[in-house]
Amino acid sequence: MVDVRAWLLWALTVLVVASSTRNPFYVVLLLLVTMVVGATCAPVRGRRGALPSLRFAAVAVPMATLFNGLTAHLGDTVLLRLPAWLPLLGGPVTLEALAFGALNGLTLTTIFSGFAVFNQVTPVRDLVRLTPRAFHEAGVVLSIALTFVPQTTRSLARIREAQAVRGHRVRGLRDWLPIFIPLLVSGLERSMGLAEAMVARGYGAVSDRAQPLRTQAFLALGLFVLLGGWLAFLFLPSWKAVALGGMIVGVGIIVGVLRLAGRAVPRTVYRPYRWSRRDTLVVLGCGLVLAVILLPLPLVNRATLAYTPFPRLALPPFDPLVGLGLLGLVVPAVVATGKSRS
């Protein structure tokens, strides 16, 4: 099984690529890669294959095509003309506008597909374990909430059954009142018991303390420098280098504060993460993709990433090296197949 941190990098890489190109060849290739990885890596129980992505595409692509086709009156290939008195819609409907809309729908589907795979392959408990130590309380809230979700669902079913036995039927919104309020009250009662149990086990002894003044001061400083740098970056082009430096310093201060705050919270792990060779391969695959997309590598024509169907629809360019580079994202499927064979 691939480590959750490697999966996180994989999902972010899909997002970076999908945000960086509008070339339909690359977008379709990326979509196919995410589908293959989903079909290969998702756990057999609960595996939904490409169905969620196809369902999303069935809505997103026609909607985006229709919306763009009816409202964007650009392009040379006019298919029909809507009366000019129609607000927003009046004007020529062009093949180029329809194609660009479909392309946007496809890009959205690709991003959705990438994160659908991420959601399928990463257990929630592994994601919660990624919570940095500085977020001890936030991690506890998250754990309690996730633990109580199944209990709450069972409570909801139990209350519905109890009310049904008493002759209560849910016909409209008003009929949910005798179900929701007992659910809320019983949940709050349980939280009272839980809080008492936490205190009895010494929870308040370590976490019922405010953080040091120094932490607050550096956090405020980091945010101030970051905000100032970002504002300068956006509005003062001549100060761009200084602004970027300020943003980096601000981010550095905040990350440093988080590390320091995390050190104050001791945490033991029953089953530690084990970084394997498979995880390294996945990271290398993502690194290859990011290098092809973001770095000016020799022989790689990054200009092919940009594509627009306007003013006249034409075949998009395709660089085989960029296409091959994108295949770096298929590594999780390859390592999963290799593991199942062995």
């Binding site: 994160f115 709450t152 939280s191 504002l231 905040i254 705050a261």
Partner: protein, 281 residues
């Protein structure tokens, strides 16, 4: 000193979040120059990272203010209950943007205050995103916006009759002569406004990168007035109908659940405030 620093962290984090949402409206062509188009490509990732970071900083500050076991437990359970509602919303398709998750966030903020409201909003969207497979680049923005829903509900609660008798004494007090009709009317207007505002805010994060007709798309350097007009046209064409259903749904749910939920939450607030302090000396 501690309170001033805390306020500064609130203000700065919120300012970064607001800037992330509104920078298309204020970006000037003089600033972008020939790099305007480049900005439109690198901005989504940079902005998402900055929003995530400021959210993280705000969470560190919020949780660092000595959260008691009772608050942690109650927050966790309320988030679980609200997340189950979102699960129901995903499983049973509802009309338009109707979502039952905002009313519990609003009422929790209204009763327990702005800090609790922010955490409730942010964590509800996080947990429900985890259980419904809704984790994606949109999540930090959703967490921020729903956190603001809860935080502003806390401010509303502070100026209403509910909060004053409870917080003034710091303990239980029977609230007998409350004008429920006025409170629920105010909450309904608040819920309706946030029903529209939430959609308008969330749209802004992808609007600069959305394709469409020129009069509805963002172009760097068009000026504040023109950008607002374009966004308004985009919002009316794509989202208004959807968001109106959400806003109307909030009003219906607040009219239906408002009074009994506030009763239940206020009763537990009094119980949670009950503390025994041992006598010293």
């Amino acid at each position: 000193m501690r309170r001033s620093l805390s306020a500064a962290i609130y203000v700065l984090s919120t300012a970064i979040g607001v800037l992330a949402f509104v920078y298309p409206f204020v970006l000037d062509v003089r600033a972008t120059g020939s790099l305007g188009v480049a900005h439109s490509q690198d901005a989504p990732l940079v902005t998402a990272a900055l929003v995530g970071l400021s959210l993280v900083a705000l969470l560190v500050e919020l949780q660092g203010q000595a959260i008691s076991a009772k608050t942690v437990a109650m927050l966790g359970v309320l988030v679980a209950i609200t997340s189950v509602l979102r699960f129901v919303e995903v499983a049973v398709p509802m009309p338009g943007g109707f979502s039952p998750v905002f009313v519990p966030i609003i009422l929790a903020g209204y009763v327990f205050g702005s800090r609790f409201g922010f955490l409730m909003g942010a964590f509800t969207l996080l947990v429900s995103g985890l259980i419904t497979g809704g984790v994606g680049p949109w999540l930090p923005y959703q967490m921020f916006a729903s956190g603001w829903v809860g935080m502003s509900a806390g401010w509303l609660g502070k100026i209403s009759t509910l909060h004053s008798p409870l917080s003034a004494s710091g303990g239980p007090k029977v609230v007998g002569n409350r004008d429920w009709r006025l409170e629920i009317a105010v909450l309904s207007v608040f819920g309706f406004a946030w029903g529209l505002l939430y959609g308008a805010i969330i749209n802004v994060y992808f609007w600069p990168f959305a394709a469409g007709p020129v009069e509805q798309t963002w172009t760097p350097g068009t000026g504040l007035g023109e950008t607002l007009a374009r966004y308004a046209a985009f919002y009316v064409a794509t989202s208004l109908g959807w968001d109106l259903v959400r806003a109307a749904g909030n009003v219906v749910l607040l009219l239906l659940l408002g009074v009994p939920m506030v009763h239940a939450l206020a009763r537990f607030q009094r119980r949670f405030h009950f503390e025994v302090h041992p006598a010293h000396g």
